[in-house]
């Protein structure tokens, strides 16, 4: 889950919850997209991810519905 990524970790989006897909497509998050965790706030706080050299913030609820394949 995107919400579980550690600071600085990079990964590729492999699955997005059906109901969420359209809502976040507008900011460029889609399956196949590479991203990097920039900031993760504690206690189910929002996350900031970097994709296409742009920082985008997402609420925990959103981040928790995005599956990311993290590179080791």
């Amino acid at each position: 889950m995107l919400s579980e990524m550690e600071f600085g970790e990079e990964g590729k989006v492999i699955e997005i919850d059906e109901g969420l897909r359209k809502r976040i497509a507008g900011v460029g998050i889609r399956v196949g997209k590479k991203l990097r965790m920039a900031t993760r706030q504690p206690i189910k706080g929002p996350v900031v991810i970097e994709l296409d050299r742009v920082n985008t913030s997402l609420g925990f609820g959103f981040a928790n519905k995005i599956v990311v394949d993290v590179k080791e």
């Binding site: 359209k22 809502r23 497509a25 507008g26 900011v27 460029g28 296409d52 050299r53 742009v54």
Partner: protein, 173 residues
Amino acid sequence: MGNPNVGKSVLFNRLTGADVVQSNYPGTTVDYTRGYMKLKDEEMEIIDVPGTFSLEPKDKAEEVAVEMLKENRDSVVVCVFDSTKIERGLYLALEIIEREYPVMIVLNMWDDAMVRNIHVDVKKLESILGVPVVATIATAGEGIKEFVSRIGYASRVKIEDIMRGVGHYGTDR
């Protein structure tokens, strides 16, 4: 129309000589503004709208933008992009093209893209999409003349034609 914080209002002020509040923060424009400019002795009405990421509004300001689009079925839609965030811009522009509005695209903040070493092939984008594409630096007034001169060439295109041009037509359905 365009994403938040791409310079729509700066462009609007350039065109109309108006003095709409502009700032470097997304969400500065929350309501629409009408202005007028002359193009070849013809008066044109221009509407500045709040930024939105898609045509499915998620807040009040986005709602205003989408409503304005619906209320002005016969308008030419100028899609303003942040040249460093092309994909986001394209998402919205394609949604608007899909709804059969005549569209032209302005790649604003071109200087920012240059500084960040982001290269966009304007001519190629134009040939793929079939609508006019111009690069501008609204804050410096660059590219505005070319933009204005091409508003008249904004055109309605079929999304299928774009897909065919890209070469992926039919592959992901």
